[in-house]
């Protein structure tokens, strides 16, 4: 059991008991190994089901705008990236800070389930962790692996593991990672020729089935009607045409420009293992370089593309 699990359960019980919040959004144990199921604890008994593990990679902030029936406050377990998306929600008028009771969770990174699955020819039957060691079993073999080597790629470059906004903390803050080159992956693509880039993204998106799990797992995507679903005008064709598929991915990325916290939920949710962060990462890099901006750090600031400053960079205008 992860050391955070018991703390979370106790904190949640306390929060619910004292009425600091009416519900607590967290994870419960999944039905299959390496799965965690987003779950809302409404009473102290429910709170016993809350867990924590390195597989809780989805972004719980995603569930906040959907909660309509709640008189009191909503409690939520928030790791670094979740908290940044909560900030974004507050900035974008999705929820009031006063409506929230945030249980901050200093995060040590989430694991890349698909990478781990590749170590096995058959299905994984058990997963557990002890500190930095992950113990993974299948019918045929057992592996003990170092968690740091199997972190999700966004967790590897994360510099905001600690929550940026919270009412109480699950544990002491953890040390933030110092990343030498935040955007090595983006630079690799930037160095390609136009043709190589085009082919790279062709290959990247070729298996997309347009289930929109990436969009739906993303806390930023809360529009009542998404542009892909609009019929008048129909911005994107609905078939499996590669240009339509790519258009969807481009536009989704644009809509996240300056707002994306690189939480990795999109990639985590993709059934086809498409590395969709390759789109948003570029915009994150640009936001940082052009506007010195990282999303979701300050509830008093709108993202750079929502505002105009006379000294905004304008080198692209010729």
């Amino acid at each position: 059991m992860h050391t955070y699990t018991e703390k979370i359960q106790n904190l949640a019980k306390d929060v619910l008991k004292q009425g600091k919040a009416e519900m607590v959004i967290g994870f419960k144990q999944g039905t299959i190994p390496m799965a965690a199921n987003p779950f809302v604890a409404k009473n102290e008994n429910d709170a016993d089901n809350l867990i924590w593990s390195s597989t809780c990679g989805l972004n719980l902030a995603n569930y906040l705008p959907g909660i309509k029936k709640c008189e009191g406050k909503i409690g939520i377990i928030a790791k670094g990236c979740d908290s940044r998306n909560i900030v974004t929600h507050i900035v974008e008028n999705k929820i009031d800070r006063e409506k929230l009771y945030i249980i901050g969770l200093p995060c040590t990174g989430m694991v890349d389930k698909k990478q781990i699955a590749l170590l096995f020819d058959d299905e994984i039957t058990q997963f557990s962790e002890e500190g930095n060691t992950l113990i993974v079993k299948s019918e045929t073999k057992e592996e003990k692996i170092n968690k740091q080597e199997y972190l999700r790629s966004n967790c590897k470059t994360c510099t905001h593991r600690n929550p940026v906004i919270y009412d109480e903390l699950v544990s002491d803050l953890v040390e933030e990672q110092i990343i030498e080159d935040q955007f090595a992956d983006v630079k690799k693509i930037e160095a390609m020729s136009s043709e190589e880039k085009w082919d790279f993204f062709d290959k990247l998106t070729e298996d997309c089935i347009r289930c929109y799990a990436c969009r739906n797992a993303c806390p930023l995507c809360y529009c009542p009607t998404c542009f892909v679903d609009e019929s008048g005008p129909q911005w994107v064709g609905k078939g499996q045409n590669t240009d339509d598929i790519k258009t969807f991915h481009y536009l989704r990325a644009y809509h996240c420009a300056g707002r994306c916290t690189d939480c990795g939920a999109c990639e985590e949710a993709c059934p086809m293992d498409i590395k969709v962060r390759n789109f948003t990462r570029k915009l994150n890099k640009d936001s940082l370089e052009l506007f010195n901006w990282e999303a979701g750090l300050d509830i008093s600031q709108r993202p750079p593309l929502d505002t105009y400053q006379p000294d905004d960079p304008d080198d692209f205008i010729m």
Partner: protein
């Protein structure tokens, strides 16, 4: 029934022979996962493969399928007249399909190929397709096919069932289609039926025993629709759902589709796409009214359809073959087995 023994060393040669007449499909590993693909020259299916992410239903019922075209050029005589798209329906064979995936076609037929209605695209594709199954000797932990009237050696809707016995395959030739394919491959080493069946039976028992995952649905039939519909658990089940369509897209039995027209300049095509009941758009009316506005209604619809409406309407068991793909790929771990248990209890 004929049982043919195929030495694995001769397998690929046989396939190459069949290519003269058949387009071959099978599981291929590209990147880190398996997909069903049309096999190019010198490409052979990976018969050791675990499940493909998507089921083989796309071979007969593609995600996007052109149906009709029209030209809008008023200078031409046939303008604005919809004409069926010419599609290649020459014979094709799907190799190594899992028995539960084959069974799923039986379920799809209930929708596309009935006395009353025949979907020409589905029927023509189905008629052209030979399904060469491979019995599952080592079922994975998601496989709960035995609980839903299928099983690792199920022969429903297969034309040929291959059984892997180590160095060779035993091929149970089930239909004429299967017979034709096997003969086109040049596999003709007919084996003693009794011995073979015994081997198969042993393997089958072993495989069925290896299935750890089960689900009970015995009481569903006795419950009324309204009782289940109004059950208290739907909100909790639906809470974590993000309404992506993953479960419906990976499902071998989900058959819903949506028709779209696209026009450019003087040409127009009408095509259909897989649709998903997880999408709000699925039921949205032109008026803006939506009978399944909330995600609870949508989640409930999916499970009620698979586990209650379908069985009630067709009396053909559940609309589920137990492949476990939706369990494995759901990003938030909504598990049909658990829900079925809840509905059954």
């Amino acid at each position: 029934m004929k049982i043919i023994k195929i030495d694995k060393k001769e397998w690929e040669q046989g396939l190459d022979k069949s290519r003269k007449e058949y387009h071959l499909f099978g599981a291929v590993k590209d990147k880190d996962y398996y997909l069903i693909q049309a096999l190019g020259d010198k490409v052979y299916p990976d018969m050791e493969s675990s499940d493909t992410i998507l089921s083989p239903k796309s071979v007969i019922f593609p995600q996007t399928e052109k149906m009709l075209t029209a030209n809008l050029d008023e200078a031409q005589d046939n303008h604005h007249i919809m004409e069926r798209v010419e599609t290649d329906y020459s014979p094709r064979a799907v190799l190594g399909i899992k028995p539960y995936d084959a069974k799923a076609f039986k379920i799809l037929q209930l929708n596309f190929d009935t006395e009353e209605f025949k979907d020409p695209y589905f029927c023509d594709a189905y008629a052209a397709t030979t399904l060469v199954g491979l019995a599952v000797n080592n079922p994975g932990q998601f496989d709960f096919s035995t609980s839903v009237d299928t099983g690792p050696f199920d022969e429903t809707d297969l034309d040929v069932l291959l059984i892997d016995t180590g160095n060779e395959y035993l091929a149970k030739v089930i239909t004429d289609k299967g017979e034709n394919f096997i003969s086109k491959c040049g596999f003709d080493n007919q084996t003693d039926e009794k011995n073979a069946l015994e081997t198969i039976s042993k393997l089958k028992k072993k495989a069925e025993k290896a299935i750890v995952s089960t689900v009970s649905h015995d009481k569903l039939n006795g419950k009324t629709i309204l009782e289940l519909y109004n059950a208290p658990f739907w909100d909790d089940i639906a809470f974590s759902c993000i309404n992506c369509g993953t479960c419906t897209y990976v499902c071998p039995t989900c058959w819903c589709f949506d028709i779209q027209d696209e026009t450019k300049d003087k040409s127009c095509i009408r095509f259909r796409n897989w649709d998903t009941c997880m999408s709000r758009l699925f039921t949205e009316h032109a008026s803006g009214h939506n009978p399944r506005e909330g995600k609870t209604q949508r989640v409930r619809q999916r499970f009620m359809h698979k586990l209650k409406y379908f069985p009630d309407k067709y009396d053909q068991g559940l609309m589920c073959v137990g492949c476990g793909r939706c369990v494995k790929h759901c990003p938030v771990n909504i598990d049909i087995r658990e829900i079925c248990e809840q509905m059954n209890s």
